[in-house]
Amino acid sequence: MHRGQDADLDLVICDGASRTFLRGTVRVPAVRPTSCTVVPGMRVALTGPSGSGKSTLLHLLAGLETPTAGTVSWPGLGGPPQGRPGVVGLVFQGPSLVPALDVVENVTLPLLLAGADAVDAVSWAHEALDRLDIGGLARKLPEEISGGQAQRVAIARVLASAPRLILADEPTGQLDHATGERVLTVLLETADELDAALVVTTHDEQVARRLALRWRMADGVLATEEIS
């Protein structure tokens, strides 16, 4: 299911990238000049206290935010992922399914956005749901499933799109411990299956420990890079 990108190139390169927000007239730096690289197959836990800038850094990596200074490039992804559905797989902390679409329609959405044929998209979606053992939820609406199930559907959405980079913003933040564990397992298995790099922001030590690398953020600065 992978798209044709160069397997050897770095997926994302941040070169002195920073992001500053304006709160009224006050400039608030969310991410100070940061350099980092995400390579294929990487497993990163991006940790740090609330407000340390980890979500903003994740958004920079996803191309959802534009750096105020410095650059972010995606040589291994063939260019910026913005406007190219399925190039980067995103999993969010809160409910991220479209309420008006059922589970299978939610999974097909990025495929359709990427221009896939509707019949093919439905077929891939069912395949992804079955792989995550949630095929039975296909015709359920998001409001009819639990929070854990919803996150698994969000992961199935990523699986169906087969990206080389998966970015998850506190995917277990609103789940109980056991459910969070299961969701993380599914996420890791999906990354393995796709041979995709995975960056997960989290407060949870146990989650962080399950990823090979740990990036710590404090006050907008990517302070350390260590092996878990």
Binding site: H59, G83, A100, P110, L112, L113, G115, D169
Partner: protein, 891 residues
């Protein structure tokens, strides 16, 4: 807590509160504006009714009573400003000799007028030729006798005496019917027509002739005195109250004179008639205004409903934090009260502005009590709308739903897939069928929406007739919703339809609309009904305006009408010089004769059937037995054809083709000659013709048979140019030989009191509100609906949707709303227009053959709606300042 909540509402939800308050304000403003319309229209109805009365009271002195004593009593009566005595005498006939011929008439009435009469009652006499004072003869009498000023007539008094009088002037008696009424007789016993022959003498000469008779045995035989009185016109603004006050004074005078006088209360009769127009004004309010106010209320509820999920979640959160259900309701009541008060204040201010600009006065009721009632009522409606929009859903939630259920954003699957109960039982279709049945039954034969029997204080309004349109409104709204929901369920069909705008996301767009079909269907209903309100109101108003114009043209004849003075004889050859006047497009001569059928005297109009329609509009509704065009063609091809009134057809049992022998005056012998015609059809209205019976025939045939091609009037078409200037130019050329009237002057005088001035204000108010409602129903509801789905759009954007794809998704929904709303608005608007014109047919004079469609206004309404929808679509697509992921965390 309440203070914190309130402060939070004002700070964080100011926009939403403002929009809801604006919705309430529209409902309140519409109601209060209608109150201003009623106040203004009722006051002007009274003023117009009073203005058209020439003599307020005709107090008849009873035989044996002292006229001087009655005169003193009338003068002393409260409200009398002036009173003069008028003598009424009878003559056996009149005679005049012109050249070698002598003309005789039947019985005549001879009036004795004091010198000040014309100044006191200027509307009673209009001089057509000669002087204002002296011996005057009525126009028809002058025509019958063939006399002009300077000629001599002989009055043959009862008892054999005769006296010769030199004619000083010829006059028109515009109010002859009331002048020659039988004072004290009930409406049904009044004479059918005023006397044919009338002579008016100065008081002293009348006394010379009739004083001996008045005191003799013939006193009972028609010689009597009336006291004509002018009354103060400082009356209550409401015609019904003015009628009660004025008629009470008349009865009081009769009581004071103890049988010596009977009051002919013309002022009271005019107010009596105006009461029904006042009732019609109220009916118009109900028919034309209430749907708009209800729509504004529904719009407010829809605006509030767009934020219902958020409000429900907030209240559920408050409940989980320990707030009691009573406190939740108090908080909702507080929000509703705030919205209601803001809306009521804004609405009343807007209505005051509207009243001031449209009606020239800031007044919400004809009387102080009514004004307070309207103001309080409109404000109360505002509060009720706010309560229905905000408090009622909160009450429903706390009573029936658990906190968990309240936090859900959509109804559960079971209730989502089930049709509403009314759709399952076919209530929508039943309502439409019931409404149709009521309309059909109430608009049948003999239907009268408003019944105000003359002289009876009570007015009867057929409120049952309101049920028809009301059921149609409700039924149409439900049916639209049902049809839209049914259509949106068919996702493949919808997907194909929106394919051109949504592209590959067509199936996704169809799925989103299928799941969100209820709010979308509600939006279509609102937009459809708002457009239907605009269509039906505008069509009704345009039809009314067209018929008012037709009425003015019927009365005046054409843009400008030149009526020849009696004694002035001109033929059709006088038309070309008139056509040469700058601004004149065409001139059409119209003969006017008097013809006897049996013993009845009727007006006869001789027309040039092939050219008459070039200068004046002949509607098909003026004729029976054929269209205007076909009957004019008949008069051309068969010149001895004649069109007669329905009453004449009935009285003489005429069948098409029957010979109708009329007696017309021969120009040479001045004697009546029999002219045969063939009955070809029925004419009910004709330019310049009276409301009662008359004939229309071919002018060439009439001229050939009577040896007289004299023209009674020239109808002048200005092609829509400045009629007043053209009329002034023609009058300057013709001098006193003719009377020139223009349609602009006639327009301001004709019709009932429920005419142009009042309805123009109502029209402006309603059409303005209809545009606001259409734009709001389209744009605001769509925008708020889309704004509620910011989460969906944020997710879709985060998943990589391009701007073009997002535009496709939003545009697909806007397109469904637009097409659905326009189709629903056009069809329901057309239906309701037909119903309104049928049910309110009593308002029209003459009745319309078909509804007039105001295309320009409808074009504006559609443009405004599309503009509103376009702005909403663009607004929903406007890129936010926040990254979609950041937005997702907050939503």
């Amino acid at each position: 807590m309440i203070r914190i909540w309130l402060a939070g509402l004002v700070r964080r939800r100011a926009g939403r509160l403002g929009v809801a308050a604006a919705g309430v304000a529209v409902a309140v403003a519409l109601l209060a504006s209608l109150g201003a319309f009623l106040a203004s229209s009722q006051a002007s109805m009274t003023a117009r009714a009073v203005r058209d009365v020439t003599v307020d009271w005709q107090v008849q002195v009873q035989p044996g009573a002292d006229p001087a004593a009655v005169l003193d009593t009338v003068r002393a009566a409260a409200g009398t400003t002036q009173a003069v005595p008028v003598g009424f005498g009878q003559a056996d006939g009149l005679t005049a000799t012109t050249g070698a011929t002598t003309q005789n008439t039947g019985a005549a009435v001879v009036l004795g007028l004091p010198y000040s009469y014309r100044a006191t009652f200027p509307g009673e006499l209009r001089t057509l030729a000669g002087t204002d004072q002296g011996v005057l003869v009525a126009q028809q009498t002058a025509a019958n006798l063939g006399v002009a000023p300077g000629g001599t007539i002989t009055v043959n008094l009862r008892g054999g005496a005769a006296t010769s009088l030199r004619v000083d002037g010829v006059v028109d008696l515009p109010a002859a019917n009331s002048l020659f009424q039988t004072v004290g007789a009930p409406p049904g016993s009044q004479p059918n027509a005023p006397p044919d022959n009338v002579v008016l003498l100065p008081e002293a000469r009348w006394q010379d002739l009739f004083a001996p008779l008045a005191s003799g045995a013939a006193a009972a035989d028609g010689v009597h005195t009336q006291i004509h009185a002018a009354r103060s016109h400082a009356l209550p603004a409401d015609p019904a109250s003015a009628f009660v006050a004025e008629s009470g004074q008349a009865r009081n005078l009769e009581a004071q004179t103890a049988g010596a006088a009977v009051v002919g209360d013309n002022l009271g009769a005019a107010l009596d008639a105006a009461r029904s127009d006042a009732a019609y004004a109220q009916v118009l309010f109900v028919f034309l205004g209430l749907p708009g106010a209800v729509l504004a209320g529904l719009l407010t509820v829809a605006v509030a409903a767009a934020g219902a999920d958020r409000r429900r979640r907030e209240q559920a959160l408050a409940r989980t934090r320990g707030v009691t259900t009573t406190q939740v309701l108090w908080l909702a009541a507080l929000e509703a009260g705030l919205v209601g008060l803001l809306g009521a204040a804004g609405g009343l201010a807007a209505a005051a502005l509207v009243g001031w600009s449209a009606f020239g006065a800031v007044r919400f009721g004809a009387t102080p009590v009514a004004a307070v009632g309207w103001t309080a009522g409109a404000a109360l409606v505002g509060l009720l709308v706010a309560a229905a929009a905000i408090l009622a859903p909160a009450y429903r939630d706390v009573r029936s739903a658990t906190v968990a259920a309240s936090r859900r954003t959509a109804p559960d699957a079971r209730s989502r897939d089930r049709s509403p109960w009314w759709a399952r039982y076919g209530i929508d279709v039943l309502l439409l069928a019931g409404g149709g049945l009521i309309v059909w039954s109430t608009t049948g034969t003999g239907y009268q929406l408003v019944l105000a029997p003359e002289g009876v204080p009570t007015i009867s309004v057929s409120y049952w007739a309101f049920a028809g349109p009301a059921l149609l409104w409700v039924g149409a709204g439900l049916l639209i919703r049902c049809l839209v929901e049914t259509t949106l369920r068919r996702r493949r069909l919808v997907g194909r339809v929106v394919g051109p705008v949504a592209g590959r996301l067509a199936s996704t767009a169809a799925a989103m609309m299928a799941r969100g079909r209820r709010p979308l269907a509600r939006s279509v209903v609102l937009l459809g009904l708002a457009l239907a309100f605009a269509v039906s109101t505008a069509t009704f108003n345009a039809t009314y305006a067209a018929q008012a114009e037709a009425d003015a043209q019927l009365t005046n004849g054409a843009d400008v009408t030149v009526t020849q003075s009696p004694g002035v004889r001109v033929g059709p050859e006088a038309a070309p010089p008139l056509a040469a006047v700058p601004g004149v497009r065409a001139v059409e001569p119209l003969q006017h004769r008097f013809a006897y059928i049996g013993k009845d005297l009727q007006d006869l109009y001789g027309v040039r059937p092939d050219t008459i329609t070039g200068v004046t509009a002949l509607q098909d509704s003026y004729f029976q037995g054929g269209s205007a065009r076909s009957l004019m063609a008949t008069l051309t091809t068969a010149p001895d054809s004649i069109l007669v009134s329905a009453e004449t057809v009935k009285d003489y049992q005429l069948l098409p083709g029957d010979v109708v022998n009329l007696r017309l005056q021969d120009s040479t012998t001045k004697q009546l000659v029999t002219v045969p015609f063939h009955y070809a059809g029925i004419v009910t209205e004709f330019p310049t013709a009276p409301k009662d019976s008359f004939f229309v025939a071919n002018a060439s045939y009439v001229a050939a048979k009577t040896g007289n091609n004299a023209v009674g009037a020239f109808l002048v078409d200005t092609g829509g140019g400045d009629v007043t200037t053209v009329a002034a130019q023609i009058q300057a050329r013709l001098g006193a030989s003719a009377t020139v009237t223009d349609i602009a002057h006639t327009r301001s005088r004709v019709g009932s009191s429920l005419t142009a001035v009042d309805l123009a204000g109502l029209t402006a108010v309603e059409l303005g509100f209809a545009l606001v409602l259409a734009a709001a129903a389209g744009g605001l509801v769509l925008f708020l609906g889309l704004a509620e789905r910011r989460r969906t759009f944020a997710i879709t954007t985060a998943l990589g949707a391009t701007r073009r794809q997002m535009r496709g998704l939003v545009t697909a929904e806007a397109a469904v709303l637009t097409v659905g709303g326009l189709v629903a608005g056009a069809s329901v608007g057309w239906l309701l227009s037909q119903v309104l014109v049928a049910v309110l047919t009593g308002v029209f004079d003459p009745p319309p053959a078909s509804a007039t469609v105001p295309w320009a206004y409808l074009g504006i309404a559609v443009a405004v709606t599309l503009g509103g929808l376009g702005i909403a679509t663009v607004g929903a697509l406007r890129p936010g300042r926040r990254a979609p992921v950041a937005l997702l965390r907050e939503l």
